[in-house]
Symmetry: D2
């Protein structure tokens, strides 16, 4: 029983391997009448695309999204919306060493244990390239959410141990790290230089803030909004931790410090990250994801081959030094997908009163 | 479209409010032939139950689990297994103030915004009492997993900012905080005393380690094992963050530090927390949950009433000072539920080779 | 992966065996604010109940529905609604012969082949008693559909080969067979007498007409309204065939005869049974179910025991001569459940325009 | 909440409109290691394809299936399997009249009522062309079922009121109607000639027999094998009725006639159609589907336009006279899809003992 679908009302099913013919997604449940064309995807797909800077792999395919079905005369029809992204820049050669050796920190070993039969070309289905389909679906999700003036803003909060101290939204799109603190960017870039020189890689923390989210989204007791966000974000390859609002810091606060006062003018603080009891409260949603350093490094590493014999893996070629920036649009997409799914779920239940007013 | 089911093959659906007649769960998909009787639930239900110590509410109902269906002659039949827990100690009186005022940090406000119609008695469906059904289902899940010699061990890693430094499993059941470090327990107890005197509450961190988990569990790309664990654990009321293995610390490591070497004798470290690419690798699963301080405190708090007017909430009676210890068995239960569900899913796919050997 | 849930937005999960402690259902997704109390179930539960006449088993338990959760102050809360029906009149004794022999036409053999472990008491989960939970859920479904002035009317169209020729709704509740043709009733009753004297049983055809169903319900291409109705009705124990509108007769018509003309004043005929392309068209839904004769008969029957040895089964006691009448409210319930589920699904999609006007 | 997925363990999601770029399907849950290449689809796709004879539309595109993902080195990988069928022979012109008028008996009216926005080109998503994706998925389903020596055999049992009297499997592939009775074929062909001359169309009955199905498949009480078959088959565009085994005829039998005796050597008859209590009993599965006459006819028909005004529809061009033969492989595909899904579901539950022996 496989798990390549996400969402219940706005259900996406993604497909495709790193080096197969194509990847993409079907969205089943996209409401009718959403204005959509292939140009709508260009910006977001470019943000996720590798090769934008010296810090990422120079795979330069365009990641153009083709709409195969579900749109007629520029509007969605309510039938399945199929998005296709071709794999044009596929060279299987540099991956031949992976035919035998498992890369530490990658999914090679576990896919082999699970499936026996392994597509070793660039990670196959486990490649970060899979996230292109998520970003494409996220574009459609945001279009559906347009009436809410929802603003889903992601950025690099921390990279290589360097934490942003300021939050200036205007800065985000002006640096390759999608960081909101122009000073921190400089230190981060230097850290990346050092890591690259060492043949090593860096991790970091992505933060997403979503403003404009109406109160009432989330379906207790299991499909709570925070639970679904946690699942969606943790399902991104490199993510090892997720927190909402004060998150792990909340564990160190007292109740009197952590409770957000409620006033007639709104909440007095937002340590809840916009979610109480698994339901949005109308404040900004605040979420952070811990991104591990990219496991592909240039240093020799201890591993085993498929027969279980010890071996040393030495990767050649050029690899990303960090995945943090590229993951920013992916986390944004997952937040958008969770929100649109819960918006439609609330609509089914006739429950969410702020939404009905829209 | 409500969300009170969890799991796909071992699907639980829970029901019940804090002050209704009863709560419980249906398990649909429990394999046939599992030996099960009502006594099997006693220990775990007691671990979760409030009133065990001076740090928790003195609600003393027994939380006896009654099996309504699905067991015949002591064995599960493959038909729906229904577990019922009565609510015997229900006094609606102390909650009358909640008829008008929203408690900060609780779900009162968001349930009201979502549903309009609110069961204000003790939190209704949003009460921590809901987790009794989870723990009961977890007992069955562990029974199904018996062939694996799986050991799911949860404990309080941190409480009120005090972090355990040692990990002695034998200690866990010998203190009311389920902490594995006997020295830390003393400091934690003192911190709790101080918080209680102040009419305040404390949060903390729960850690769970599961050994004996076979490699190959988890269904990429969305129903990855870590994604499902994150959802399951984040869906517990007070949890605000989840991390796997090195978690947020991984964000500060370099690739060469974070990658676990693979040797012919096994993995050389376990910063992955037993999960690579969303699939278990045979190492111990390691997961931490950030538990916020209990929002019910004795200090006056700023809030609003149902008409949106400013008000001061003053709770009387006696409340838990921390939920951390009580959440330990709940996190364990969610881990067990995720594992059994993915074990059966892997069995459907015929995929998980280590399991087939069992 | 068991299958005891039905519906996606108004999702029911039923449980319970014929001779267990209780049976019932959880409804997850019942909209908030529906007025509901235990008295609402009495009429429908009585219609389904055996023992109403000389044609059915004298099991006289009251089938009172108890609401365990999900209702507060007389209104549904949007949380799981749990309905419980006790099994009070349980005598395991007459069933002891079934411990060894499989009853022809019953599910004993297939449950044993599937599960190995068999609850042989009165059919266990496979008993017709299971349908009590469906009828109880159907009562709630109809309450949710109240705004549509939907009228779901079921009746016995045919019994023992005798087909009703008239359709007088007022007659239905005035005879124990729920037949709408007073003349046919007399012949049917005589046929039942003869069958009883012979120790035999009779089948028949149930027809349901639902008027007031808005256009636009149904989710192609798999969850079409007719497909879901077919599944729901075929899942009732004794049903062996389902047809919509002209049904099998349509196979013998020409296109020019079978197409319903569309006029500015409405459809000119209703051979489609109210469904085109899997979506309701606003006409009456018309559905027929073929009900096989009850397999429990007083004549000796060839069978085998659990060891596969030939044996003769001779049932003693008293059994229903036909299930047709008792199935009428069950088919009605399934139709109501499909309609409410698709109403909420259409609401999620924002698709069904007639509904939005309500 | 749309409904373009079918199956739970072997889950297919189909997409595509009649005149869009392409149609196809993702199969999520196809087991790993199934030998599969694009040539495997040719035969079945040709059986379904229109233009094979003078009785069907001359749309001659090849319906070649392209595998976009999920196969590596000739074997399925356990990741999503994507099948694509291009739409090459798309001429929108003859459909321009449909921009305004609803075709009686078609889904134009109901799609318009449901979605408002209508792809009027050849039926869009409601076109019979959609079934190409089902047939392609059915090919994969049969491959997975290979170990069972399952034989799923469909044929035209009745056409235009002419019923086959013999069942000679060798004849089926030798006539364009897929009928197993060579004498009946001649009468059916003449009836089709007459209907074509009259500008009219014919319906019929398709029967499918599946031998080799192990006992134990089906998941009561809702996902019974017959219930799922009924849904799958009724979801095919032109199908208006489904019956299992004796079907509607069972309604006219007595219990002593309808019960299949069980002998140590097997069942003495098969009026159950291979299903008891919703679970397969090891006998041949027998299922019949009522297929309505094609609604597109050359005679003038009363209808309305989008503004609700009366109008006369006069179709020109050339249309199929009957869909019965083309639906044969589609019904077979749906049976295969239901069986593979329930085989994997039984495997998850560890329940189906005959299967485990394989």
């Amino acid at each position: 029983m496989a798990g390549n679908s996400f969402g219940q009302t706005f259900k996406i099913t993604t497909f495709g391997e790193s080096h197969g013919k194509a990847l993409g997604a079907i969205i089943d449940g996209c409401p009718v009448g959403i204005c959509l064309n292939e140009a709508d995807f260009i910006t977001e797909m470019a943000r996720r695309r590798p090769g934008r800077s010296s810090f990422s792999t120079p795979r330069t395919e365009e990641d153009r999204v083709e709409i195969l079905s579900g749109v007629f005369e520029g509007l969605t029809t309510g039938t399945p919306l199929t998005l296709l992204v071709g794999n044009h820049d596929v060279k299987s050669k540099p991956y031949s060493v992976l035919k035998d050796l498992f890369r530490p920190g990658h999914a090679d070993y576990t896919y082999f244990k699970k499936f026996g039969h392994l597509d070793y070309r660039g990670g196959g289905r486990a490649s970060a390239r899979e996230t292109a389909a998520r970003v494409a679906c996220g574009v459609v999700a945001r279009k559906v959410l347009t009436p809410f003036n929802l603003d889903i803003l992601g950025y690099t909060l921390e990279l290589g141990g360097i934490r942003a101290k300021r939050m200036d939204p205007a800065v985000i799109s002006q640096n390759p790290l999608y960081c909101a603190d122009p000073d921190a960017v400089q230190f981060m870039l230097k850290a990346l230089d050092r890591a690259r020189e060492d043949g090593d890689s860096l991790g970091g923390v992505v933060e997403v803030r979503a403003s404009g989210c109406p109160a009432g989204l989330g379906e207790p007791v299991f499909d709570k909004l925070d639970a679904e966000l946690a699942k969606g974000v943790m399902s991104i390859g490199a993510v090892k931790g997720v927190e909402i609002g004060a998150g792990f810091e909340a564990a160190r606060l007292r109740g009197s410090e952590n409770n957000d006062p409620i006033r007639s003018t709104g909440f007095g603080s937002n340590r809840s990250g916009g979610i109480l009891g698994g339901i949005s409260n109308g404040e900004d949603l605040v979420l952070r994801a811990a991104v591990k350093p990219i496991p592909s490094i240039m240093k020799p590493q201890q591993t085993i081959d498929r027969q279980g014999r010890d071996a040393i893996l030495e990767l050649t070629g050029r690899f990303d030094v960090t995945a943090v920036a590229r993951i920013v649009p992916v986390v944004e997409a997952m937040v958008a997908l969770v929100l649109v799914d819960h918006y439609l779920r609330a609509r089914a239940g006739g429950q969410c009163f702020d939404i009905q007013g829209v």
